[in-house]
């Protein structure tokens, strides 16, 4: 029986320990931040559709990481925790009065992002037209590679729900892309 991670001290340069396979691994806040900033940002972006909001959410997530007393069992656990907190932070954002007041005027989905391949953005635009619940599960499944069970654990929803959201989201995505092709044609 081992309590897996011991966070010795607070502060961004201070070490965090993970016991894994009888070996002790050390992480610093910086290690984790550098590795997972993009992961968190991408999920936040897929949920909020706005780079500005995604940046805010990402910063909140890492602030919470710095302040947490959570004991992590592995690096994968850290990642899952970050994704979970990202979802929570975006929920907080959606519930905030500021967001509710401004979002109605700000339904832009064509914000400028740093795409490497502009031609590939069709999928992105189609994704952004999906309802949020579908975007989240699709992102976690297709990008992060999580299984239905893992997504259910991260989003704290039933597996059946995740499965149906994934199925419907996928269908919707395909339909939207098909329509766009028709429109262009």
């Amino acid at each position: 029986m081992v309590k897996a991670v011991i966070i010795l001290c607070r502060g961004r340069q201070l070490p965090r320990y993970v016991l894994e396979d009888n070996a002790m691994y050390r992480f610093t806040y910086d290690d984790i931040a550098v590795k997972y900033i993009d992961t968190v940002y991408r999920l936040a972006l897929s949920r909020t559709k706005s780079p500005e909001n995604a940046e805010d959410v990402t910063q909140d997530v890492f602030l919470r990481l710095m302040q947490t007393h959570k004991e992590f069992e592995s690096e994968e656990h850290v990642k899952a925790w970050l994704l979970r907190v990202t979802i929570n932070c975006t929920k907080d954002l959606f519930l905030s009065a500021w967001f509710r007041k401004t979002e109605a005027l700000d339904e832009k989905i064509d914000s400028v992002h740093s795409y490497e391949n502009e031609e590939k953005s069709d999928l992105y635009y189609a994704l952004m037209r999906l309802p949020q619940k579908y975007r989240t599960v699709i992102h976690l499944h297709y990008y992060e590679g999580y299984s239905v069970k893992e997504i259910a654990a991260i989003t704290k929803t039933a597996e059946g729900t995740v499965k149906s959201q994934l199925h419907r989201g996928r269908d919707l995505l395909k339909n939207i892309m098909r329509e766009e092709v028709k429109d262009l044609g």
């Binding site: 009888n22 993009d38 805010d56």
Partner: protein
């Protein structure tokens, strides 16, 4: 587009999306956004201002006589426009004034002196005055009576009065009761007015006297807690003096100043670091570090070792671990749990021990920082014989914790 194509496409799209360099920098530096910290700054400012005002008023109350600031507070309570005053309240006050003339002597006036008695206005006068005077006027008057100038310094007159008979807690509490500007207080003040001068309300109601002692005790306790928020309690047991630090201090504690120079480069990191992996059993580690941690902990507390018998270390050319931290976990009855992290790198405990804001405990002459984390959990940081100890316990009481620390910090 089939499933696999979609996944590929999705990955390619999102692989091209990155957080901005500015965001990365902000997160790595953890600069809070201005938008988020503004309310906190405002709240902190308001709290500080409130605290300053409270402290000022409270200190005046402690050290001055009946004509001090508290009396002023009572007066302030009457400065509400007459129209706003409850009719019944005014009637009662008038009745009380008729019944109770200003006493010539007595506890209520002893501190204030005759001058103050003479100056004490009757309720009807006060009602009229209250419409003319502002809070500032009353405050200035009260301060003058207390012998404190506008800058808060005590004047000669006040020093002279300092030798006067000090007010006891009953009087102060009674004053506070009478001074409180609330409906409930109005009842008390009215009752007090039946037996005393309305402004000072010194003799106060019997009920106020009965409540005075605990009320004052609370006030003093609160004052002490404010003065020293970090220290939860000091407990002594057999060679160990535990000065508990509050968990709130632990949570906000960020010893970056102490640790600024520390990084994985100079501290050594097993993860991703160069070196030869070696499995060390516990005895080898104890020899290396110079302490039988398991023996010491099990003899100091009623727990048994449930951790690993060996651990891997990355060793350098000289065969020494690059990072020699190890964790030992113990379990006992009733869900008690102890974990001890040891290292010859002092930085872990030193970061806490060197912080002047933290309260030090004395473990048989060895300094330790102990946090009472609530819920029966403690965190302790200690250096003994060149070994840094970070100890977490759950389910141990103070005595057991003292025994454990003593056992670790004994030759």
């Amino acid at each position: 587009m089939d499933e696999r194509d979609m996944q590929k496409e999705y990955k390619r799209v999102f692989d091209g999306i990155h957080a901005s360099g500015e965001l990365k920098k902000r997160i790595l530096e953890q600069r809070p956004r201005r938008r988020s910290i503004r309310p906190y700054i405002a709240a902190a400012g308001a709290a500080a201002a409130g605290l300053v005002i409270f402290t000022a008023v409270y200190n005046y109350d402690l050290n001055t006589d009946s004509s001090g600031v508290i009396s002023e507070t009572a007066v302030t309570g009457t400065e509400r426009p007459a129209a706003d005053m409850d009719k019944r309240e005014r009637t009662e006050q008038s009745r009380a004034a008729e019944k109770a003339p200003v006493p010539e002597t007595g506890a209520a006036q002893s501190g204030a002196g005759a001058g103050a008695s003479e100056k004490t206005p009757q309720p009807s006068e006060r009602a009229a005055d209250s419409e003319k005077k502002t809070t500032e006027d009353y405050k200035r008057e009260a301060l003058e009576r207390a012998g404190i100038d506008s800058s808060g310094n005590r004047t000669g007159a006040a020093e002279g009065r300092g030798t006067a008979e000090p007010k006891d807690g009953t009087d102060r509490a009674a004053e506070r009761e009478a001074a409180a500007d609330s409906p409930a207080q109005t009842e008390t003040a009215a009752a007090a007015a039946e037996t005393a001068a309305p402004v000072s309300a010194e003799p106060a109601a019997e009920t106020a006297e009965e409540n005075a002692a605990p009320a004052e005790q609370d006030a003093y306790t609160a004052g002490t807690a404010e003065a020293q928020p970090e220290i939860k309690a000091a407990k002594a047991a057999g060679g160990v003096l535990l000065n508990m630090n509050s968990p709130s201090v632990y949570r906000i504690y960020a010893p970056e100043a102490n640790m600024a120079e520390y990084s994985t480069e100079n501290g050594g990191a097993l993860y991703g670091s160069a070196g030869t992996p070696e499995e060390w059993d516990n005895n080898r580690y104890f020899e290396y570090i110079g302490a039988d941690v398991i023996g010491r902990v099990t003899s100091g507390a009623e727990v048994r070792y449930t951790g690993d018998e060996s651990a891997y270390f990355m060793t350098d050319e000289s065969g020494k671990p690059v990072n020699d931290s190890r964790i030992f976990v113990f379990e006992g009855g009733n869900g008690s749990y102890v974990s001890v992290i040891t290292s010859s790198d002092m930085i872990y405990a030193e970061a806490y021990l060197s912080d002047p804001d933290l309260s030090l405990s004395d473990v048989n002459g060895t300094d330790a920082v102990v946090f009472d984390m609530d819920g029966g959990a403690y965190k302790c940081y200690m250096i003994f014989n060149g070994v840094s100890y970070v100890i977490d316990t759950e389910g141990l009481d103070d005595t057991a914790l003292s025994g454990l620390l003593l056992s670790i910090a004994s030759e």
